[in-house]
């Protein structure tokens, strides 16, 4: 009897590349952590981390939406809005990250609120884009239509920024509910990003086993920080998982760069592959969310007076 035909094993150095990429990303993450010099008390530190997380999310959205909307030839004038708002978000969130004592200022708060609301509207636009295609809500349109999750990242960035400001408001709920709700929001953010990455990696048939990484580690981190919202002890587990998620956020663009290299024509064919290959700027969203999560953890851990 004939054995079933097996696909030919890859001759690419996938394990070596994955190991080198993860080592490189860990090194970068370690350097980032060393360079991270938070200022002020716990609330200031949390505000600063939330601001940094929002800024990273906005950088990811700005680059990704600029590239993808350029691919869509800005057919609809509204397609300029996403990248522009992401730029505004970078500015406002970076301001909070650099000067956390000003996080509760009116101007960055208005800017980030606008960014967040724009993300909601963008979500509506993208949903409409998918539904107006023949076949409506089918897998093909979800694969190749406007991505549902992408504008939501702007909303998350806006929320992180606004929460960062609230941390300094001195209101009562900052000491009670806000950190827990923020932890839940971060768990939700991670779950959404995992869903998006998992969906698109499924589209890519998980053809490199490294593509399983964002659907294994970040979901655990999401569960852990969700649990930390309920029980302070879970924060112990959440911290290493969030750090691992952050490292994946750094490793992602490196993996994706290797993915472009593996595509037909490789980097010499960049003008097609930047658009059609794995998206370079998408994975740092994990870094942004993890940074915000790491910032909020101390507020969950330490007993409050």
């Amino acid at each position: 009897m004939l054995a079933p035909r097996q696909p030919e094993p890859s001759h690419r150095p996938l394990i070596a590349v994955a190991a080198a990429t993860l080592a490189g990303a860990t090194a970068v993450g370690w350097l980032l952590q060393r360079a991270w010099k938070p200022k002020g008390d716990r609330n200031h530190r949390a505000a600063q981390a939330l601001g940094a997380g929002a800024a990273i999310l906005c950088v990811s959205v700005a680059l990704d939406s600029a590239i993808e909307h350029y691919r869509g030839q800005f057919k609809d004038r509204a397609m300029f809005v996403g990248p522009t708002m992401a730029l505004l978000g970078i500015g406002a969130a970076a301001y909070i990250a650099l000067r956390p004592e000003r996080a509760n200022d009116r101007l960055p708060k208005i800017a980030l609120l606008t960014v967040g609301v724009t993300g909601m509207i963008g979500l509506g636009f993208h949903t409409y884009n998918i539904l107006k295609r023949p076949g409506e809500l089918d897998a093909l349109n979800l694969f190749y239509g406007a991505p549902m999750g992408a504008p939501a990242a702007l909303t998350l960035a806006g929320l992180y920024g606004v929460i960062a400001g609230e941390m300094l408001s001195g209101r009562e709920y900052v000491r009670t509910r806000l950190p827990k709700h923020t932890a839940a929001l971060i768990a939700f953010s991670l779950a959404g990003t995992v869903a998006e990455a998992g969906w698109l990696h499924f589209r890519g048939a998980f053809q490199d086993p490294a593509m399983y990484a964002p659907v294994t580690v970040p979901p655990l981190a999401a569960i852990a920080i969700g649990a930390a919202a309920l029980s302070p002890r879970a924060a112990m587990v959440a911290e290493p998982l969030l750090k691992a998620t952050a490292i994946l956020g750094i490793a992602g663009p490196m993996f994706h760069a290797y993915g472009i290299h593996r595509n037909m024509g490789g980097w010499k064919n960049w003008s097609q592959m930047i658009l059609q290959g794995p998206p370079l700027p998408a994975p740092p969203a994990f870094l942004g969310i993890a940074a915000a999560g790491l910032g909020i953890l101390p507020l969950l851990q330490e007993p409050r007076k």
Partner: protein
């Protein structure tokens, strides 16, 4: 009949030659196609001349200084016996079909007009080819070879196939040639990558 006018006025697919769209394999294949036009090896001189005259009626190229070579590639295919991998049940093997079909058309021309096919006026050539296409032929020249089948499956398909393998024909219809290595990133309706042909003037057929 309306003359075909290309809407891709400024487009020359060979401008892609040194661009990221093509690699050395693609360039090698095209270089061969452009520069190594094969010599006559299979058809007789008479068959070659006849086929040249037929092809000129099937795809006339009055607007080209250098017409796309078609007969040399048919001869090359026959010389190497590069058959498609199948044979029509009612037709002999490829080489035999071509030999017999061409000779039958030559005989039809001599029988009807007392001249060689290439000496006929274009209208007479067209009329004769139309009759061949519709099996209105003298069976003694064709024996059991179906004239219409030979016309459609061999003459016409090969002629069109070879014509549209040539970069000049690609430029005319805005085709990008091999997507090797660079393919296309904008695949929806009304979308165009910057390295694709651009339609500059377009009129719906029939508008005057």
């Amino acid at each position: 009949m309306r003359e075909f006018e290309t809407p891709y006025l400024t487009y020359d697919v060979l401008d892609k030659w040194d661009s990221p769209s093509w690699n050395e394999q693609t360039r090698g294949v095209l270089r061969k196609r452009l520069e190594e036009v094969p010599p006559r090896r299979f058809l007789t001189k008479e068959q070659w001349g006849l086929l040249d005259a037929i092809v000129a009626r099937l795809i006339s190229q009055p607007d080209r200084d250098e017409p796309v070579p078609i007969v040399p590639w048919i001869d090359d295919m026959l010389h190497h016996n590069h058959a498609p991998g199948y044979r029509y049940a009612d037709m002999p093997p490829m080489r035999e079909a071509w030999r017999r079909g061409l000779d039958a058309i030559a005989a039809e021309a001599r029988n009807r007009h007392g001249k060689e096919f290439h000496e006929l006026a274009p209208e007479d050539q067209d009329a004769l080819l139309t009759d061949v296409q519709h099996n209105r032929v003298e069976s003694r020249y064709w024996d059991d070879l179906p004239a219409g089948g030979f016309f459609l499956h061999h003459l016409l398909k090969q002629t069109v196939g070879i014509y549209y393998s040539h970069p000049d024909a690609w430029s005319e219809i805005g085709f990008g040639g091999p997507a090797s290595p660079r393919g296309y990133a904008r695949l929806g309706f009304d979308e165009r990558d910057p390295w694709e042909a651009e339609e500059l003037h377009f009129e719906a057929a029939g508008d005057a």
